[in-house]
Amino acid sequence: MAKSEVKLIGKWSSPYAMRVKIALNIKSLQYELFEETLNPKSHFLLQFNPVYGKVPVLIHHDRPICESLVIVEYIDETWSTGPSILPSDPYDRALARFWAAYIDDKWFPSMKNIVIVEGEEERKPYFEVLEEVVERMEDAFGKCSKGKPFFAGERVGFLDIAFGSFLGWLSLIEHIYERKLLVEAKAPALVKWAERFAADPAVKGLIPEIDKLVEIFKPLQIKWRAAIGKK
């Protein structure tokens, strides 16, 4: 397939863009990557995602698809001959979608708030949310994986992608605030899963390096705090 048929507007540090890259890798798809700076947002991005102006945006045959999990499902359905990303059973699909929605609802907003607020007392409730998420995902892993290496079973799938895409940022938060969240004592299965996930061929090289994330941390914190101030 011609490389230019599939384009991705992404950003190296974005967990959401990473989800799409993993899905494209699972299907062994070639694509043209446009690295978005988001500062300012490119005309290209705003043209293809007028509603939100966010990455990632997949452009297939010049038609845009937005929202990372919508894109991942699109990739799975369009290139249906490759390895499956979503489970085949409707109930398992509903469960995978439920947990992915749970991650999007709880994880990133809490992480963002940890970065925005000032002081340990203010950060405490958000860390508690993240700890609860880890606990729930540890439990969910047991139920979904049924003894297999990944949430989806033998191979990396939808929920692995949804949750695993945040591992780079999780490491950053743990590093900056000197507080471990994904620990053997609390989440032994997830710790091992995270190692397997990071080593998977579809994921290798995509998790942003912590040194690079540390470099962008302060400017991002300033930007996020300013946005709240404006609101």
């Binding site: 509603v51 297939h60 929202e67 699109y74 409707p90 699909r93 929605a101």
Partner: protein, 219 residues
Amino acid sequence: MADEVVLLDTWVSMFGMRVRIALAEKGVNYEYKEENLRDKSPLLLQMNPIHKKIPVLIHNGKPITESAIIVQYIDEVWNEKSPILPSDPYQRAQARFWVDYIDKKIYATWRETWLSEGEEHETRRKEFISIFKQLEEALGDNPFYGGDTFGFVDLGLIPFYCWFYTFETYGHFKMEEECPKLIAWAKRCMQRESVSKSLPDEKKVFDFAEAIHKELQSK
């Protein structure tokens, strides 16, 4: 084996209405259980321990939660008639995108509009109206979001129609003036039995909202 289908819901919930419409479209027999959200049943807490919210579909004892996920599940399981999602992957992606937009925007902005005052209220109010303008734009000149047929986005949005009167009263606007095409679309959807039977009367919804509002104001 006969399917056992139970829906935990509340009569006024737009999200519950989505599931009722989907089940009606597919002709599925089910048991409806009205929940009192101030006194949640042990069944609800057991079936949705994470969020403790309705709607919850219980199919042969197994729970499915989150209305958009439930509707997709219903579409996939009872797949012999009345498809809800389109068959083309690109159209499916567009449908999922817009239902996600509805879920991200309408309810949260409504609450902010409803419960705010003064300048804050004015800002939220404008934001709220702009969401519907965006949705009207997405409809274009099609009879339904699904094109010629009623589908996922139509089903996802139409339950908010019985709340329009409430939105208009608290938001001080007329949907007919702001989004006439959307009103025309809604009336088209209401001609469908699955929809008209699943939505409560808008005045009853308003009475409910008014009672809650008074209660919140008195606190």
